[in-house]
Amino acid sequence: MKIVMAIIKPFKLEEVRDGLTAVGIHGLTVTEVKGYGRQKGHTEIYRGAEYAVSFLPKIKIEVAVSDELVDRVIETITAAARTGQIGDGKIFVSSIEKAVRIRTGETDADAL
């Protein structure tokens, strides 16, 4: 099994979720994060004190999938989250060794 972690622009969340549902993904976990990267932030000025805000709001999606689904998932996310502008985000894939569904104790593929 793999866990796919994607950092995307916040307003793309619904589209990505819909795309994943379409390829049969039943579950995922979302976190509000701040991203730092090539995309430039903005400047905030409060009574003459200027702050360069370089961290931008992003959404992190984590989805655990069986190995054979990984490529479909990557494609789906890429397609749904792309705007073509800097800051669209990244996808990182790593292995997981075990998965458990807490409710039932089912493991691995059954747990997803």
């Binding site: 905030e44 409060y46 009574r47 003459g48 004190a49 702050y51």
Partner: protein, 447 residues
């Protein structure tokens, strides 16, 4: 009626009221013939008192608290609430007496303890207004002035938020009220006080409240020092929503401050009211547009700062200038305070964290001098007897200098003493953690 004779009366066409500074005459219990308060005046003064309380709680606390980081929000609310409560008690115990009784040999500077614990005050005693024969219940005058005494030290808090010890603040407030505020109020508002007899104009407390507090805050910021990370770390306001609510409440409440200082529900109060509208709106727009031009964006915090600057500037002028003069005065305050808070302060590099000096000090000085100018009937003001612009501006200038000196020196000495005795500042670990947890064991938000 001793005090009355000290009024330069007789100027019929020109408002007598304008001559006296602030609430000056009001301290005299009416004697003989027992003038009876008009219920309309009493109603208005009851309301005005509440409006000034409303400025402090929650107004000022939200205005200030919203500008701090969320880890210090609760400490700002605590400091302002405690300051208000302490001043309320001190005022009835001896503050009112020190400010509004004759002080014998020292009466140019301070009163006596003859009304300590409100000795002799009852339901029936009254205070004079600026109109001969018109009185209000003394209790309502005491309450109204109490709210001024509550808000003034609370204003100072903005100079050194996010780092001052709560205990040190309480001690400072107590001493500062005694050494600086009560004498200053006596000098300006009591008929035997030095500035009152000088003839400096101050309709609603520009010197006593704003210059006084602005200077104390500046001195505090300098003595206590900068916040850790000042100038390097992001210290953006944690909630401009709260600052907005606070500002709106300040504006609404300030009408009690300014129009209430008329002490009667008359056209004079209405004049103070319209000026408190126009000067404020002008200052808000002044700051808005100058910032838009200079920095490229029109900011909410700019408008809100402009609102406060305008309110401060119009305070001494409220019942004395015309609505168009108020617009000019307000615009100037908006623009000058903008440059002060954004350029001058950065250049000098001190950490007057919430710009108490930049807004209240500078705005108060502009208002005080401006009152001497725009009171001129030629400029739409209501005029004062024997008015000459140069002479009047000079008197205003003297009042400003005295306020700056009295508050500056008094505050400096007090800060130094308290620092030596119990320390002014929390530890750097506590400052990092935030005063909310470190000093009060609570957090403002648990969402």
């Amino acid at each position: 009626m001793v005090f009355r004779t000290s009024l330069r009366a007789g100027s019929i066409g020109l408002a007598v009221a304008a001559l006296s500074t602030g609430a000056a005459l009001a301290q005299v219990p009416a004697t003989a013939a027992a003038a009876v308060p008009n219920k309309g005046d009493t109603a208005w003064m009851l309301v005005s008192t509440l409006l000034v309380l409303f400025m402090t709680l929650p107004g000022l606390a939200l205005f200030y608290g919203g500008l701090t980081r969320s880890k210090n929000m609760l400490s700002v609310m605590s400091q302002i609430t405690a300051t208000a409560a302490v001043m309320c008690i001190v005022w009835v115990v001896y503050g009112y007496s020190l400010a509004f009784t004759g002080g014998g040999a020292l009466t140019s500077f301070v009163g006596s303890f003859s009304k300590a614990f409100l000795a002799g005050v009852t339901n029936e005693t009254t205070s004079d207004t600026f109109t001969k024969g018109v009185v209000i219940p003394e209790y309502v005058f005491i309450c109204f002035q109490m709210t001024f005494a509550m808000i003034t030290p609370a204003l100072i808090v903005g100079g050194f938020v996010e780092r001052m010890k709560f205990s040190a603040l309480l001690l400072f407030v107590l001493l500062w009220a005694t050494i600086v505020y009560f004498p200053m109020a006596h000098m300006v508002w009591f008929s035997e006080g030095y500035l009152f007899t000088l003839g400096a104009l101050d309709f609603a407390g520009g010197t006593v409240v704003h210059i006084n507090a602005g200077i104390a805050a500046l001195v505090g910021a300098l003595v206590i020092g900068k916040r850790i990370g000042y100038g390097r770390e992001l210290m953006s306001p944690h909630s401009l929503t709260m600052t907005f609510i606070g500002t709106a409440v300040l504006w609404v409440g300030w009408f009690g401050f300014n129009a209430g200082s008329n002490l009667e529900a008359t056209g004079g109060a209405a004049l103070a009211m319209i000026n408190t509208f126009t000067a404020t709106a002008a200052a808000a727009l002044g700051w808005l547009f100058i910032e838009w031009i200079v920095k490229g964006k029109p900011s909410l915090l700019g408008m809100l700062s402009g609102i406060v600057a305008g309110l401060v500037a119009v305070t001494p002028a409220a019942g004395l200038v015309g609505p168009m003069g108020a617009i000019v005065l307000g615009s100037i305050a908006g623009v000058v305070c903008f440059f002060f808070c954004t350029t001058v302060k950065n250049a000098l590099g001190y950490d007057d964290s919430l710009d108490v000096f930049g807004v209240h000090g500078v705005g108060g000085i502009i208002g005080s001098i401006g009152t001497g100018i725009f009171v001129a009937p030629a400029l739409g003001g209501i005029g004062v007897a024997d008015y000459a612009m140069g002479a009047q501006v000079w008197k205003q200038f003297v009042a400003v200098v005295i306020a700056v000196a009295w508050s500056g020196i008094g505050s400096f000495v007090l800060f130094k003493i308290i620092d030596a005795v119990i320390g002014l500042r929390v530890t750097s670990d506590q400052e990092r953690e935030g005063l909310d947890i470190a000093e009060h064991g609570e957090r403002a938000y648990n969402i």
